[in-house]
């Protein structure tokens, strides 16, 4: 019985150590990404195989894009507030509400266009095959529209 317990204990200890080693080795890139200050940017570099120089240029683009994006978001929020106020303070649509809605739609389109331009700029910093893969990924993840191009209410 003592022999049985010893064999099992040593076998389990060895198996546990081996399993932990494999787990740590196989998850090394992901754990390293999670420890970065900007893990999502580290993911981009890892996923699309960017060199350090390419990644530095992408980060510069990202910093510039985020600053502009914040400004656009501020304008979108203030326009949305005006639309809400205009809508709730009248019993019917007014020319001012119409103008604000057009302005909000224009801001939204501008926002999306800037985002896509940023994505194109990022893809140009990548190797051609990775750049195309990035654009395909962006299309699925970021361009939030129905895949078959039809709107829900048209069905």
């Amino acid at each position: 019985m003592k022999r049985l317990v010893t064999i099992l204990f040593l076998g389990l200890a060895l198996g546990g150590l081996a399993g932990t080693g494999v787990y740590l080795a196989r998850t090394t890139p992901e754990r390293a990404m999670l420890c970065c200050p900007k893990p999502e940017q580290a993911w981009l570099q890892h996923e699309f195989q960017l060199t350090d120089a390419q990644f530095a240029r992408v980060q510069k683009l990202e910093t510039q894009y985020q600053a502009e994006c914040q400004e656009r978001c501020r304008r979108v929020n203030s326009t949305n507030d005006l639309v809400r106020r205009q809508f709730t303070s009248h019993a019917a649509s007014t020319p001012e509400l119409e103008r604000l809605l057009a302005c909000a739609a224009q801001l939204r389109a501008d926002c999306q266009l800037r985002m896509l331009e940023y994505c194109y700029a990022v893809s140009r910093e990548m190797p051609p095959d990775q750049g195309q893969r990035y654009l395909n990924w962006v299309c699925d993840q970021v361009l939030t529209m129905p895949r078959d191009g039809t709107m829900m209410h048209a069905k």
Partner: protein, 108 residues
């Protein structure tokens, strides 16, 4: 009753035996095979703990067990690492998408 080998008549008779008869081929192996078969038939069925204890008492058991547990550990580690890596990558890709898309939380 006296044991047979203390019987003087029997001893005399055994001494008179020429004793030069040859055994048939594979006589010894045949005897051992019959003994093994008889023991196997006569042995009672072992309970699981007894069978395990019997099995673990064999010298080959230690390396076999260790190898099995080692490969089980390696397989488990590999499987869970794949799961964890896929989960983290999905989480990070969503984070990236949300970081560049201001409408991520409110799709049009």
């Amino acid at each position: 009753m006296k044991p047979a080998h203390h019987d003087p008549e029997l001893r005399q008779l055994l001494r008179a035996w020429p004793g030069n008869a040859s055994l048939p081929p594979r006589f010894r192996a045949g005897v051992w095979q019959r003994i093994t078969t008889a023991e196997r038939v006569a042995a009672p069925a072992l309970s699981l703990p007894a069978w395990l204890a019997n099995w673990f008492a064999q010298p080959a058991c230690a390396p076999v067990c260790t190898a099995v547990l080692l490969f089980a550990g390696l397989g488990t580690g590999y499987y869970w690492a794949g799961h964890a890596a896929a989960r983290w990558e999905a989480q990070l890709s969503s984070q990236y998408a949300a970081s560049i898309n201001p409408y991520a939380a409110t799709p049009p």
